[in-house]
Structure formats: structure tokens, C-alpha cells
């Protein structure tokens, strides 16, 4: 089975879950004997991932595109939300212009395109080589904007890709419903393939914020892009409510994004700036360390197609509280769940976890057991089923 896989980023040049998911899935497929050519829009430095990676030479600043897609992570380009999509759309079109040659050369059995920036390229490959196209949806424009003013170009490209694709893979039922409801796609065209996690446990590291912990503070963590989709404002509201009740909690925000200024402003306005720490973006060991330091990881996303960070937190032995508006809540039972807007309940659960020791203990042990069943090996099997249905 030969697969032409179209992606946008791969670790360590990733801005979020998309690159991580592409890598995990492509590696697991490779292990199962699937022959993958992974096409990226331009040259980046990566370690050999174990499958063939092909770089196109789109004369486009990759960093710009990356920032655009992720709501300004990393702070490379401080442009406003409203400014980015045209750049971004242009990048997607460049990708499409350049794809034909490699597509013809590889003559794959299926084209597998990850998220909308690769959909125009996917469609070109599909038409030029008469190969079935799979559109893999890791997030939609509706998720990214929380349904508020989705960019019409992006939405149009997404919709065209989903309609022309021979089959769609969604990372959760949550995303499947989003596709069916907002893009007028028949449900039987959409298969659900959950993401997995590579490492189900992490090496134990010395904790960060040791002094605070020694003083009896509990650490509650937000880790993700600080942007509307991830619900940071609900995190801060819940923090305010929880601190009214228990002052011995520190709320840590890891990540960056367009709502960073808002967050800092809100923290001071609510009078809780002394109980909040903003670390910026963390990677690798530093990221594992902060997960391990936390007594609770909170993912208050407004609309989360999957939510791989939840799995990372669990792998680091940290209990999690996630919004019900997430794909990962479909596969995890041993976690705390709330509606993202219910900050009163979010605070209640944060405070309860801090107050009742046994709660964290059981969540930690039981969620870890669940992690074993959420792996890329399983995701790859599901993907292969989709491939087989098309060739």
C-alpha cells in the first residue's frame, strides 16, 4: 500500500497537536508496512522519522504560515487574527501548485491530506493521478474560531476538500458531528479515527516550582495555545472563583497566543495576578516537568477536536479536568469533565481535587490504565481499514 501523505508541519517544527499527530500516525502506519511519502510544503530540518519525507520548494515563508495557522504561536509574527488568513490561503494554494510532479512520480494508491491547508494540494493530486483522496480533519475553522466569524476563504476550502474527498477521517465523533452539521457531509462518508500517544509514561523529573510546592501551594495547569479555541478565559474565571475559596493554589499558564495580553490584563483586573504564572511556550523535557509538577491539568477548550495534551498530562501522572466539548472526552472515562462555560463547576472540581487527596490518586492510577488502549497502533489499523475501503 502506497500512500501520498500531505502535511503542514512535523515536530520539532510544530506549533501544536497537528504535527505530533501526523508523525505518530505516519510512523505507526510505516511499522505496519504502509509505504508513506510524506510531503511538506517546504524544507525544514527534522530528524529521520522512519518514513520518506519530501519537501516542496514553495517560496513561502513557512514561519508565517505556521503562525497563521496556529493563532500566532511562538510570537514570530504579531499579526492580528483578521490579517492572517489570506497569507495562509495563499500558502495552501502554493502547495497545490507544486504537488503535481511528486504525485505523478509516486503514483500512490491513496492521497491522505491532513487539514485544510493541504486540501487544495490533495484535490490536485486526486484529479491529476486519479487517486482516491482522504481528507483527515484534525480541526475545523468552526473549532478554531469558536464559531464566531469563521474565515470565509478557509471555510470554503475546507468545504470543497470535504466534498471532493472520497472519504473523510475525523479525529473524534465530536469532529465528525461538526463536519456533518456545518459542512453538509453525509455521516456515512466520515470515519472516526482517534489519535494515540507514543509515550504512555515519562521519566520522572525533578519538579518545577519546588519552593511554592514546599510552601503548600497546589499547582493547577493550563497548557496550550492561548487563543479563544482553547478557552483560557474560562480557566482564569475558574481560577478567580477557586481562589475566593482557597488561596493556596497557583495557576500556571503554559503557551502563547493572541489572547496573552488579555490574560495578563484579566489576571490583574481580577486581582489574582500574584496567583498566576505565565511561562510562555515549553517543549520536551520542560513540558514534561511542568506536567509532573501540576496537581491538576485543565483543558477548558471551547471546541477541541481531540486534545492530545490530555494524554500527555496523563502520561506524566497528572490528573486531568477536561471540557466535555472535546474529542478526547469520548475515549477517557477516568478524568474530570465539565462544560467549558460552567466555570462554577470547574472551580468546584479544582477545589475538590485539591481538598480530597484520594481523588487525585484514583484519577492518576485509573486514567493511566486507559492510556494503554489509546495508541497509534490502533489508529493506524483504523486508517488502513479506510484505505482498504477505497482501493
Amino acid at each position: 500500500m502506497k500512500v501520498l501523505m500531505l502535511g503542514w508541519e512535523l515536530p520539532p517544527h510544530n506549533s501544536g497537536g497537528l504535527g505530533v499527530a501526523c508523525l505518530g500516525l505516519a510512523q505507526a502506519l510505516t511499522r505496519k508496512g504502509v509505504n508513506i511519502t510524506f510531503v511538506l510544503p517546504r524544507k525544514i530540518n527534522i530528524q529521520d522519522p522512519g518514513f520518506e519525507v519530501y519537501f516542496l520548494d514553495t517560496d513561502f515563508e513557512f514561519e508565517n504560515l505556521k503562525s497563521a495557522y496556529t493563532g500566532l504561536t511562538g510570537g514570530v509574527l504579531k499579526i492580528l487574527m483578521d490579517d492572517f488568513p489570506p497569507d495562509f490561503v495563499r500558502g495552501a494554494m502554493k502547495f497545490a501548485e507544486k504537488i503535481e510532479k511528486i504525485a505523478k512520480l509516486k503514483n500512490a494508491d491513496v492521497v491522505h491530506a491532513h487539514d485544510w491547508m493541504t486540501f487544495p494540494a490533495g484535490i490536485v493530486a486526486q484529479k491529476k493521478t486519479k487517486t482516491p483522496l482522504i481528507a483527515h480533519v484534525h480541526s475545523t475553522e468552526i473549532d478554531r474560531t469558536g464559531g464566531n466569524f469563521p474565515n470565509p476563504y478557509v471555510y470554503a476550502i475546507e468545504k470543497e476538500g470535504l466534498q471532493l474527498a472520497n472519504k473523510i477521517i475525523a479525529v473524534s465523533n465530536f469532529t465528525k458531528n461538526m463536519i456533518v452539521d456545518n459542512y453538509q457531509i453525509p455521516p456515512q462518508k466520515v470515519a472516526v479515527v482517534y489519535n494515540g500517544i507514543e509515550k504512555t509514561s515519562s521519566q520522572k523529573l525533578s519538579p518545577a516550582l519546588a519552593e511554592l510546592k514546599k510552601m503548600g501551594y497546589k499547582i493547577v495547569l493550563f497548557l496550550g495555545r492561548v487563543t479563544l479555541q482553547k478557552g483560557p478565559e474560562y480557566f482564569i474565571k475558574a481560577a478567580k472563583r477557586a481562589l475566593e475559596f482557597n488561596k493556596k493554589i497557583i495557576f500556571v499558564v503554559v503557551g502563547d497566543g493572541d489572547m496573552m495580553h488579555f490574560m495578563i490584563y484579566e489576571a490583574s483586573r481580577l486581582g489574582i495576578a500574584d496567583k498566576m504564572i505565565f511561562t510562555g511556550f515549553l517543549r520536551g523535557e520542560e513540558k514534561d516537568r511542568i506536567y509532573q509538577t501540576a496537581d491538576l491539568y485543565v483543558m477548558p477548550s471551547v471546541s477541541e477536536p481531540f486534545g492530545i495534551t490530555t494524554l500527555e498530562a496523563i502520561a506524566n501522572n497528572t490528573p486531568v479536568l477536561i471540557s466535555k466539548q472535546s474529542g478526547v472526552s469520548e475515549v477517557l472515562q477516568n478524568v474530570l469533565k465539565v462544560d467549558f462555560w460552567d466555570t462554577e463547576e470547574m472551580a468546584n472540581k479544582i477545589l475538590s481535587l485539591v481538598k480530597y487527596k484520594s481523588l487525585g490518586k484514583v484519577l492518576r492510577a485509573e486514567s493511566k490504565k486507559e492510556l494503554v488502549n489509546i495508541n497509534w497502533h490502533k489508529s493506524a489499523d483504523e486508517c488502513i481499514k479506510v484505505y482498504r475501503s477505497l482501493v
Binding site: 475559596f245 478524568v335 474530570l336 462554577e344 475538590s352 484520594s358 484514583v362
Partner: protein, 409 residues
């Protein structure tokens, strides 16, 4: 000769509403959920009454009138009697009519359907007394056979029951301690003098209670005739067949639409077709048959899950800490002499609260999920612990008030 002993367990807990940490110190009504969820006790009780209790009681009353040989028995907890009085007095009246036939026996148990035996012997005895009192008051009946919550049983419990004058005690007929022996005989608990032990025939009981409408079961559909033939087969190899199950089996767990009531309606006739069969109540079984052997249960057996132990209530650290917390309050609560406080504390001892915190969903799975009115075991734990902390605070406040009042004197 085979005697059939039918015994049904009737119980609904006072479920605790979603009680947040912010409610501690402000809201002392833990059981008054009025939402559309499964935490609304009044709503659940009315639903179960319509689907199960009322039609089942009516059917049994009809059957008792039709077959003079028929006998049945119930264990009805104090907490459901309270709820029936409040939300479904018609159900309570129909139970009274059943007992008035003289062929319906009521068993003894803890009023609050608690696991107090394993935490506080004194509290346990108090709850058994409270139950005897209300059964006497409502039904004019004095129970002679004891069943503990969830049929939780151990040697010591049998000795206790004997000391209290019970003539029989009931538990699960579990293979672990039975070995090659059959549950279809009356036994004697080890170390006891005269008290008898009745063991649930879980295969036959579960055929009716769990498998009745399971289409993937090789014996589906289960007819009264087929079921009676299985009982006839025991003839000669056993003396009493104990069919014990939740009363909600009829109409709630097994639906009317799947024919459970038709099955029940024809069952006595099919069983009585065999001239050697008859029906007995648990106390009659104890009097009628001698103990054939001695049963030793040094650990704890229950009727739950594949493990038949207490792990459904006490299998993880949240359950353990919740149970310890509530029983640790005993002295404080009782010394408050505040009746409402004591009552609330006892309502929180009902085993169901701890069952809802069970996390072994994936192996024993759906049964737990089906019976859980909370979204997760963790939600159940949080509401419970918050309410329990309010309870603790009330006891403390009460103590302070008493002390201050004394000072004023």
C-alpha cells in the same frame, strides 16, 4: 421435595444532588434535587413505581389469590419506605395489602441499607432496630430472618444474628465457599448453634434477573415452562431453591415489553405442575429443613459483580476515604443529639453512594454505568464529600452552640 423460596429486595437510596464545595455551610438539603436528571429522587421513585412496583404488586396480589400455595417475601429498606410515604403512598398501600394476605414475609435488615456492620457494630444494631420498628409500624410484622445490605455476609454476622434471636440469615450461594456443595440446601453457619443459612441460587436467580431479555443468550427466549423445568430437575438433589433478586427486575430491569410480567404470571402454575414442588418463605425454609452441612465464610461475600466481594463499594481509594470519613463522624454526630443531623448522616451511609464511586467499569462494566445516576464515579465522590463536609460543619457548629448556651447558664 423442592421448595421454592422467592425473595425480592425493594430499595431506593436518597441520592445526593450535585453538591458543590461552595454549598458547604449554606445548603443542608442534600437529597432534594429537582432537576430532570437521575438524581431527582421523587421523579425516579414515581418512574420505578409506575414501571415496576405497582404492576408487580398488583400481579403478585392476583397470583396469591389464585394460588393458595404461593408464598413470597420482601426486604424493604427504611429509606424506600420513607420515600414511598412521601412520593408514592399508593405503592406502600399495595405492599401492606400483600403482607395482609398472611403469605408474604418481610425480612430484617438495616434501615439505611448501609455497610455499618463493617464499621460500627453499635450503629449497625441501631439501624436494624430502626428497621424492625418501622416494619412493625407499617406492616404489623416482626421479621425473623436477617439479610444484610448487598447480602454482605461473614461468619461473625451469623453469630450476631443468632444472638439477636433470628432463626435464619441469607447470603449469596457462592462457589468459593460452597465448593462441590449445592446452594439448594439449608446450612448452618460455622460456630453457630441453631441459626440457619439460606443461600441464593445465583444461576437460576440471574437467569430471571439479568439474562431474561438478553437475545444473545442461548436460552432466550425464557418461558415459564422452560424455567420451571430447570427447577424440576433439582428435585432429588436439593430441598430449597432460593431465588433472590431486586424487585425492580420486574418492569424496570426487565421490561414489560419483553414479557417479564407474562413470564411471572404463568410461573407459579408451571412450578406447581410438579406435585413435589411448593413455595416457602425464608422463615418456613429454616423451620422445615434441617441444616445439611456447615458453611465457613471467614472473609466477606456479597451478591455483587463477578468478585462477590465488597470491591464494588470499597474497591478504590475514593470509596475507602468516603466511607472512613462518614464513619469517623459517628461520635460527633451522635453527641449532637440533633435528630435531623443524625438522620442525614445515616442517609449518607446508604451503600449506593459508595457504589456510584466504583471505578471498575471496564471489566464489570455496564451494570455499574447503568445504575449510576452521576456522570462519573468522580462526580459522585465530589458531591458526597462536599455534603459530608457540610455535615461535619453542622456537627461542629452545633457543639459550639451547645457550649455557648452552657456558658450563658
Amino acid at each position: 421435595m423442592s421448595s421454592i423460596c422467592l425473595y425480592f429486595h425493594v430499595h431506593q437510596p436518597w441520592r445526593i444532588k450535585n453538591y458543590r464545595i461552595f454549598d458547604i455551610g449554606h445548603d443542608h438539603d442534600y437529597f432534594n434535587d429537582s432537576s430532570d436528571t437521575k438524581l431527582n429522587n421523587a421523579k425516579i421513585l414515581r418512574k420505578v413505581a409506575e414501571k415496576s412496583y405497582l404492576p408487580a404488586n398488583e400481579l403478585f396480589l392476583r397470583l396469591l389469590n389464585r394460588y393458595k400455595e404461593l408464598k413470597i417475601s420482601y426486604s424493604i429498606t427504611g429509606v424506600i419506605i420513607e420515600q414511598l410515604m412521601q412520593y408514592a403512598p399508593d405503592v406502600l398501600e399495595s405492599f401492606i395489602r400483600l403482607v395482609d394476605t398472611g403469605r408474604v414475609e418481610i425480612l430484617s435488615e438495616t434501615y439505611y441499607h448501609s455497610l455499618a456492620f463493617f464499621y460500627s457494630k453499635k450503629e449497625f444494631e441501631k439501624q436494624v432496630d430502626l428497621h424492625s420498628k418501622i416494619v412493625k409500624e407499617i406492616f404489623g410484622f416482626t421479621p425473623k430472618v436477617f439479610r444484610n445490605t448487598e447480602l454482605a455476609y461473614t461468619n461473625d454476622l451469623a453469630i450476631w444474628a443468632e444472638d439477636k434471636g433470628f432463626i435464619g440469615i441469607i447470603t449469596e450461594g457462592w462457589d468459593n465457599f460452597l465448593g462441590w456443595r449445592s446452594p439448594n440446601f439449608v446450612y448452618k453457619p460455622v460456630g453457630a448453634k441453631s441459626i440457619k443459612l439460606l443461600l441464593k441460587n445465583y444461576r437460576l436467580s440471574d437467569d430471571m434477573a439479568f439474562r431474561f431479555s438478553e437475545r444473545s443468550w442461548s436460552q432466550w427466549p425464557l418461558t415459564s415452562e422452560k424455567y420451571a423445568s430447570w427447577i424440576h430437575r433439582i428435585n432429588g438433589n436439593g430441598e430449597v431453591v432460593n431465588l433472590f433478586m431486586d424487585y425492580e427486575t420486574f418492569g424496570e430491569h426487565q421490561w414489560k415489553e419483553h414479557g417479564i410480567f407474562e413470564f411471572l404470571e404463568k410461573l407459579p402454575e408451571e412450578i406447581l405442575k410438579h406435585p413435589d414442588n411448593d413455595f416457602v418463605t425464608p422463615s418456613e425454609a429454616c423451620l422445615k429443613y434441617p441444616a445439611r452441612d456447615e458453611i465457613d465464610v471467614p472473609g466477606v461475600v456479597t451478591w455483587a459483580d463477578t468478585e462477590r466481594d465488597l470491591s464494588a463499594w470499597l474497591g478504590n481509594a475514593i470509596q475507602e476515604s468516603a466511607l472512613n470519613f462518614i464513619y469517623k463522624l459517628e461520635k460527633k454526630i451522635l453527641s449532637s443529639k440533633d435528630e435531623k443531623l443524625i438522620e442525614d448522616w445515616r442517609k449518607m451511609q446508604t451503600s449506593d453512594h459508595f457504589y456510584y464511586m466504583c471505578t471498575k467499569w471496564f471489566s464489570d462494566g455496564d451494570v455499574h454505568k447503568y445504575f449510576n445516576p452521576y456522570n462519573s464515579p468522580y462526580d459522585a465522590f465530589i458531591s458526597f464529600m462536599n455534603a459530608a463536609n457540610d455535615l461535619k460543619l453542622r456537627a461542629k457548629t452545633r457543639k459550639l452552640n451547645i457550649r455557648n448556651a452552657k456558658k450563658l447558664d
